[in-house]
C-alpha cells in the first residue's frame, strides 16, 4: 500500500512493510532508499493482470540513475494490465534487519515481497553485480537456481552484461540479449495469456511458458537452449523517451534527468562491448528532443537535462539541439549536461558556448597513451585533438578534467605504457603554460576482453604483470599534478571470468555468494579471499578464462547471432594485429 499524506494516521501500516519499525528505519543509512513514494512513482493498479518488478542489483542511488530502468518502467506502466514496481540491492545494514526480522525483500511501490510477483526483471549493468543478484533472490524468498523453481515469479535478465548469458544461466528462467523496449512487453503479453489460460495451475505449466518464451526474438531460455538473435528496437528513433521519470528521494550520483539522444555508436573501438551491444546507431531528431527536454523538466521539476548517448559529441545536430533547449527555456535556472564527450570538433564548439551548458567536469577516454596503441584499439583520436580540447577548456569554467586509460591492452609494449604518463605530462604542461587552474584526474583500468568485440580472442595479462605496468604508470605520473585512481587487477581478472565465462562459472558465483560476497564493485566491500576460495572450490582459475583464444577456436557464446558476423570481428582483430606489427591499415 502506498502511504498518501491523508492516511498517515494509519499508524499500524505507517511504513507499509509489516514488521518494519520506525527504529529500524532510523538505524540505517539513508532509509528513504527502501521506502519508495517518490514523485512520478507508478500509481497502484489493483486490477492489473500481472505484476512485474524491475530490479537493479546495486544501491538505490545508482539504480535510480539507470536509463534502462526508467525506459522499461514507464513503458510497462503505460499498460493498464501491468503493475510495475522497482527494487534495488539493500545495503548491509538494512539487509541485516530484513534477515533478523524475517522480512522478505519487497517492491518499493506496493511493498509486496519479491516472491509474490509474476515477473522479476533484473538488469545486469556490470559483471560485478552478479553476487548481488543472488542476494536479492535469496532475500526475496526465491530459490536461486532456475531448475529448482516450480512456481513463483519468472526470473529474467537483460542488459549489457547479459550479452554472454552462460555465466548466469543457472539463475535465470530467461535472458534477453539486446534491447528490451519490444521484447519485455512481448514477454509480459505471453505471461498474461498464460495466466488467463490457467497455466500457473498446470503441472507442466511453467515449462510450457518457458518454451513459449523461446519464440520471442532475443530471449534465450537456459532450460530450452536454442540459437538466439540479438534483439534490436528498430523503432527507437521515432519512439518517445521516458518523460515522467521518478525523482529519487535520495540524492543520486547524477542530479540530472537523462534524455537519450541516440542509441548505438559506430566508432568501432575494438575493446568496447557497448559499441557492439547497442548497434546500429539510431538518432532521435533534434526537434523531437527539444520538445522532450522541456516536457521532462516540466514533469519532474528537475532543472538539469543530460544529453545522453554513448558518444554525445558524435550527434550531428548537437549545436542545434543545445541551442534549441536553451532557447526553449522552461526554468530560469535550467542547465544542460553533456556526458560522454569525445575529443573532437563538436566538443570544441561546445566548450566555447557560454550559455547553460553545465560546467562541472569534463571526462574523456583516450584509453591508450601512444598513437600506435590508439590505432591498434581503433580509438580515433590524436594527441593534437587532446591538447586542443585541453586548451579550449580555458574559455570554459570546467574545473576538472578526467581522463580514462586502460592498461594491458592487446599488443601493449613498455613504451606504450610509458606513453600514458608522457601524454598526461604534456596535458599538464599545456595547462601550466596557459595558466589553467584545472584539476586533472587520471583513472587507470586493466583491460578486460569482452565477448562480441574484436578483442574477444585477446588475452588478459596476469594480475602481477598488470600490477607492474600500473605501478610503472603511477610512478611516472608522480612528476605531474594529476590525481590517480585505479581499478584493482584481481577484480578485473574476475570480471574477465564473469564476462567470457561458460556454464561452469555459475558455480563460482554461487560459491562466492555463499561465502558472503556482495557489492563486489564497491572497493572496500570486495572480498578477495572469499573469491579465491571459491575459485579453488570450483576448480576454476582466472587464467583459463583470461588466456588468448585462437581464431579457429569455437567460443562458448557462438550460438548467439549478435548481428555483427563473427567474420567481421575476426577481420577487425586481424587488422589490429597488422597495425600492431606496423603494417599500415
Amino acid at each position: 500500500m502506498i502511504i498518501s499524506p491523508e492516511n498517515t494516521r494509519d499508524r499500524a501500516d505507517l511504513r507499509g512493510v509489516p514488521g518494519l519499525t520506525h527504529w529500524d528505519l532510523i538505524s540505517v543509512e539513508k532509509p528513504a532508499r527502501y521506502l519508495g513514494g517518490e514523485w512520478n512513482q507508478a500509481a497502484p493498479k489493483p486490477g492489473a493482470n500481472i505484476s512485474v518488478c524491475l530490479a537493479f542489483p546495486d544501491l538505490y542511488e545508482l539504480g535510480m540513475s539507470n536509463i534502462a530502468l526508467k525506459i522499461l518502467y514507464e513503458l510497462l506502466d503505460a499498460d493498464p494490465r501491468i503493475a510495475v514496481e522497482r527494487v534495488f540491492s539493500p545495503w548491509g545494514d538494512f539487509e541485516e534487519i530484513l534477515r533478523r526480522k524475517g522480512i522478505p525483500l519487497y517492491g518499493l511501490e506496493s511493498k509486496r515481497p519479491l516472491h509474490a510477483f509474476d515477473v522479476l526483471g533484473i538488469t545486469l549493468p556490470y559483471e560485478m553485480t552478479f553476487t548481488n543478484v543472488l542476494r536479492m533472490l535469496e532475500l526475496g524468498g526465491i530459490p536461486l537456481l532456475g531448475n529448482e523453481r516450480s512456481s513463483g515469479p519468472l526470473i529474467i535478465a537483460g542488459g549489457p552484461s547479459a550479452a554472454n548469458p552462460l555465466p548466469v544461466a543457472d539463475f535465470f528462467d530467461a535472458i534477453l540479449i539486446g534491447d528490451g523496449e519490444e521484447a519485455l512487453p512481448e514477454l509480459c503479453e505471453r505471461v498474461i495469456s498464460w495466466k488467463a489460460k490457467g497455466g500457473e495451475r498446470r503441472v507442466r505449466g511453467r515449462l510450457e511458458l518457458l518454451e513459449e518464451i523461446t519464440t520471442i526474438e532475443g530471449f534465450w531460455v537456459p532450460q530450452f537452449p536454442k540459437p538466439v538473435r540479438r534483439r534490436v528496437f528498430k523503432g527507437f528513433a521515432s519512439s518517445a523517451p521516458p518523460l515522467k521519470m521518478i525523482i529519487p528521494n535520495v540524492e543520486t550520483i547524477h542530479n540530472r534527468v537523462p534524455l537519450e539522444i541516440f542509441r548505438g555508436c559506430m566508432q568501432g573501438c575494438r575493446f568496447c562491448n557497448a559499441g557492439y551491444f547497442y548497434r546500429p546507431r539510431r538518432d532521435r531528431t533534434p526537434r523531437a528532443l527539444i520538445e522532450c527536454a522541456a516536457t521532462l523538466m516540466r514533469n519532474t521539476g528537475n532543472e538539469s537535462v543530460g544529453l545522453l548517448s554513448l558518444s554525445t559529441s558524435d550527434y550531428g545536430c548537437l549545436d542545434e539541439l543545445v541551442t534549441g533547449v536553451v532557447s526553449n527555456r522552461v526554468f530560469p535556472d535550467q542547465n544542460i549536461t553533456v556526458p560522454s564527450l569525445r575529443m573532437n570538433e563538436a566538443t570544441l564548439q561546445l566548450l566555447k558556448r557560454g550559455d547553460q551548458v553545465k560546467k562541472s567536469g569534463l571526462t574523456f577516454a583516450p584509453e591508450a597513451g601512444s598513437q600506435r596503441l590508439r590505432d591498434v584499439i581503433g580509438k580515433k583520436i590524436t594527441e593534437d585533438d587532446i591538447l586542443r580540447v585541453i586548451e579550449a577548456t580555458r574559455e570554459s569554467c570546467y574545473q576538472t578534467v578526467k581522463l580514462y586509460f586502460m592498461i594491458g591492452l592487446p599488443f601493449e609494449t613498455n613504451s606504450d605504457v610509458d606513453a600514458i604518463a608522457e601524454l598526461v605530462g604534456k596535458i599538464d604542461g599545456t595547462a601550466r603554460r596557459m595558466k589553467l587552474r584545472k584539476d586533472l584526474s587520471i583513472s587507470l583500468s586493466p583491460f578486460v576482453p569482452k565477448p562480441f568485440t574484436p578483442f574477444q580472442w585477446a588475452e588478459q595479462l596476469p594480475a602481477e604483470e598488470l600490477l607492474a605496468r600500473r605501478v610503472r604508470v603511477t610512478n611516472a605520473l608522480k612528476r605531474t599534478r594529476a590525481k590517480v585512481s585505479w581499478r584493482e587487477e584481481f577484480l578485473c581478472g574476475l570480471e574477465a571470468v564473469l564476462a567470457r565465462g561458460d556454464e561452469r562459472v555459475g558455480k563460482l558465483i554461487l560459491a562466492a555468494h555463499r561465502k558472503g560476497c556482495r557489492f563486489d564493485g564497491w572497493g572496500e566491500q570486495f572480498r578477495r579471499k572469499a573469491w579465491e576460495e571459491s575459485l579453488k572450490e570450483t576448480g576454476l582459475t582466472i587464467s583459463e578464462f583470461a588466456r588468448e583464444r585462437s581464431l579457429e577456436e569455437k567460443l562458448p557464446w557462438d550460438f548467439i547471432d549478435f548481428r555483427t558476423p563473427r567474420a567481421f570481428l575476426e577481420a577487425e582483430y586481424r587488422r589490429a594485429i597488422e597495425t600492431a606489427r606496423g603494417v599500415v591499415e
Binding site: I2, I3, S4, P5, T8, R9, D10, R11, L14, R15, G16, T21, H22, W23, L25, I26, K30, P31, A32, L35, G36, G37, E38, W39, Q41, I247, N249, V250, E251, M297, R298, N299, T300, G301, N302, E303, R329, F331, P332, D333, K359, C397
Partner: protein, 271 residues
Amino acid sequence: MIGETSAKSSDAIMNAGAKASSAMNSGKKSTLKKETGISSAAETVTPAPECRFRVWYRKTGNAVYMSHLDSMNALIRALRRSGLPYLVTQGCHPRPRCSFGPALSLGHAGAGEVMDLWLTGPIQASVVRERLSPQMPYGMPLIKVETLSEHAKAIVSEAPMQYRLRFCAGAPTEAALKLVDIFFGDPERVIVVHRADGTKRQSIAGAVRSWRHEVNGGGDDIGTSSLIMDFARAGNGIPSPSKIIAALVEFLGPERDTVVEVERIAILKME
C-alpha cells in the same frame, strides 16, 4: 494541522505572517535585485513587498525518512513544477531563491514546517497555494501560504520548539511515564552527544521547559496518547531537542518500541 495546534498556545506559535513580519531583518531591495535570475521577465520586474511568501507544510508518512537536504531539493522541484515565476540566485549554479526553517532530524515528522520563497512579482497567496499544492512531494502536504514582508524575520534554527512522542495504543505504561519523569526531573541529567569533533557530555538542565502526557484526539488516534515536550532555545551549551529526544528514547529501554512517531509540532516564536 498547524491551525489547530497553534490555537492551543496561540500567543507562542509563530504562524501569523503579520506577527512574524513585525521585526526588521536583512533582505533589502538591492539584495533582491542582485539575486534576480537570468530570466528576462525577472530582470524587468521591480520586486514588490508582496513577492515573498511563507509556505507551511507538514512532513509526514514515509517522507519523514528523507534527509533535510533531500527534502529541500524535493520542495524546490515542486516549486519549479508549479510554474510560479520564482526568483533565482546568481552565480555559477543558480537556484530558486528560497529559505527553509530549521532542519528536522531524519525520522522526525513535522506538523508545521516552513519554507520562504521569493517570486518575481506580486501574486495573491491563494494563487501560490493553488499552484503549489498539487505539486508538493508525497508526504509533504501544503497547509497554507502567507504573504510576507521582505523584512520578515527568518525562522532560526535555535528557536524554542514543541515536540510530541506519539505512542501506540495501550502505551505508554505507568513505568514508562515514570522513566520520563525521572529523565527530565533530574537536574543533574547529562546526555552523550556525538558530533563530528568527538563525543561530548552535555547537561540538559534548562533545556526542557515542560512535559505532559496527553490523550490524543479523535479519529484514528482514539485510544492513543502522546508526550508533549516544550524545549527552550538550543545553543550556548544547550543540546538540540532531537539530541535530547534521542537520549530520552534510549533511556526508555524496551518501551522505546511503543513510540510510533516523533513529531515537531511547533517552532515557537523567540521570546
